[in-house]
């Protein structure tokens, strides 16, 4: 399940909804990305995310489908926000549920790595001086995403 929204979301409520009423799920892993007050050593005072409506949903759906093909998942959820966000607010949530602990961990890790390099979102930060700047891609994110390509089923 994927959702792209401007509104803030409640991590706990989303996780609870995914497993509510189910007694067949043994392991749930979540990743939450939050707006930090610093980045690369500089103070961040404001934060905004632009995205490409339409393509965002397509890419997230493709990534989720790939995760379901690679791991034994009973449920999964990706929520990604766009627009203005306050410091400390959640930006993204990935939840994976599986019978197997390692499947849930690996799938969540994979979803984040691929999302980081494929989903069309762009972060803009405001610094202490009030200047806004577009965040640059990180080599560590590129490298992290490549880990999953060696055993790609594509």
């Amino acid at each position: 399940m994927i959702r792209v929204q401007r509104e803030i979301f409640d991590v706990g409520a989303e996780m609870a909804a995914l497993t509510k009423g189910r007694t067949d799920i043994g392991a749930v892993v979540s990743f939450t990305g939050l707006v930090r007050d610093f980045n690369d050593g500089s103070a961040v005072t404001g934060f905004s995310l632009e995205h490409y409506p339409g393509m965002t949903e397509r890419e997230l759906a493709k990534i989720e489908t790939e995760a379901k093909a690679r791991w034994d998942l009973q449920a999964s959820l990706i929520i990604h926000r766009y627009g203005d966000m306050a410091l400390g607010e959640p930006i993204v949530l990935v939840v994976t549920a599986s019978s197997h602990r390692q499947d849930a961990f690996d799938a969540a890790n994979f979803l984040m790595d691929w999302l980081k390099t494929k989903a069309p979102f762009w972060k803009m930060e405001k610094g202490e001086d009030g200047e806004t700047s577009w965040v640059k891609e990180r080599q560590t994110d590129i490298d992290a995403a490549k880990r999953w390509s060696a055993d790609s089923q594509e």
């Binding site: 490409y52 930006i91 989903a119 069309p120 972060k123």
Partner: protein, 83 residues
């Protein structure tokens, strides 16, 4: 053809989208990019380093030169930084 710009490309070009009439001078993405570079200094700068410009046609990333059609949606944007 509908053209979309995102993030710093949008900021530099001061434009989020535009509609281009179909032209046989721009039958594919390579020729479209060449034409873009010729539009003026801001465009020349934005398209000077294609290493930092991603292209999507009809909301799909493209690999290599890609043929274009009249009703295509072409998007130019930097490497993504979400998550």
């Amino acid at each position: 053809m509908k053209i979309l710009y995102f993030a710093w490309l949008k900021t530099k070009l001061q434009m989020t989208e535009e509609t281009l009439p179909w032209s046989e001078e721009r039958p594919d993405t390579d020729s479209l990019v060449r034409w873009m570079k010729s539009r003026g200094p801001a465009f020349a700068e934005v398209f000077s380093d294609l290493e930092v410009v991603r292209i999507a046609v009809n909301q799909e990333y493209i690999v290599g030169n890609t043929a274009l059609n009249e009703n295509d949606e072409i998007a130019f944007f930097p490497p993504v930084t979400g998550g």
